[in-house]
Symmetry: C2
Subunit: 174 residues, 2 copies
Amino acid sequence: MTKDVIAAIKERRSIRRFKPDPIPEATIGRLLEAACAAPSAGNVEPWFFYCIYKDDLKEALARAALGQKFVAWAPVVIVVCADPERAATAYGERGRNLYCLQDTAAAVTNLMLAATGYGLGTCWVGAFSEAEVSRVLSLPPNLRPVAIIPVGYPDQTPAPRPRRSLEEVVRVIR
Amino acid sequence: MTKDVIAAIKERRSIRRFKPDPIPEATIGRLLEAACAAPSAGNVEPWFFYCIYKDDLKEALARAALGQKFVAWAPVVIVVCADPERAATAYGERGRNLYCLQDTAAAVTNLMLAATGYGLGTCWVGAFSEAEVSRVLSLPPNLRPVAIIPVGYPDQTPAPRPRRSLEEVVRVIR
């Protein structure tokens, strides 16, 4: 047992300070299995995951992420990639520009919630140079990096961020 | 307590047959709260949710979804919309074409996992005419429909869909 799903959803935070404690190999495997259990249009699975432990690569990723240094401070950094042509083969333009982004975002969300379940912290880093990340990791041309997720045991306890009320973002039609 | 987060991630299925039982109003509220707790770039929350109970609208949505009739068979259909210009105001092109799609996909994922926690079934319907959905719901021009999620108590128990092995989709760099 890890944590109740509603609790995980509510307790997830963006964590930018990590303890140096290593993460058990098996736990990283569970996070990746959770990512791969995400819904995927037509079960095409247009995704690929790089798990980076190497210090100089983590530092290069932090630079590619516009200098967000905390990226390099996590014991593991997971770079999530979309495979747009894999989705396009099945679904054309909608696969290339929509489904592969949605499927990988669902995978990231699963991964982050699973991490919360295991007491781990993550942060969805979206601000980075895709070209620079591709260069740093020597990505094959079919992969587009869409998220950088540092993972580690949290060394901070941020308050929840405010959200607009349901009244502002929901319309019910009966 | 609902369900363990790892169990919810593993037990989520695409459900296309629903019992007619109504869903408690409070539970729908919990699902929408879970959606809104999703990570959002800069906490911009570029999303909006329509909860459709009205039969003729559900049928029109099923037609807009290329005739996927099961959409109309769910007691509630949630149409998730992105607000690209809201994200673009903060982040330009990357907000318009990436972050608003990722944030809404994260919201959908949270909603589906919360639903699983409450014993509800969902299906991520992505194949639909955006123009037709916009017309059916008279969406304001700033909203782009990105997912249609029928919600109800499952009347089927599909087997898990196969997934590629971690060996195929993960690379570890030490």
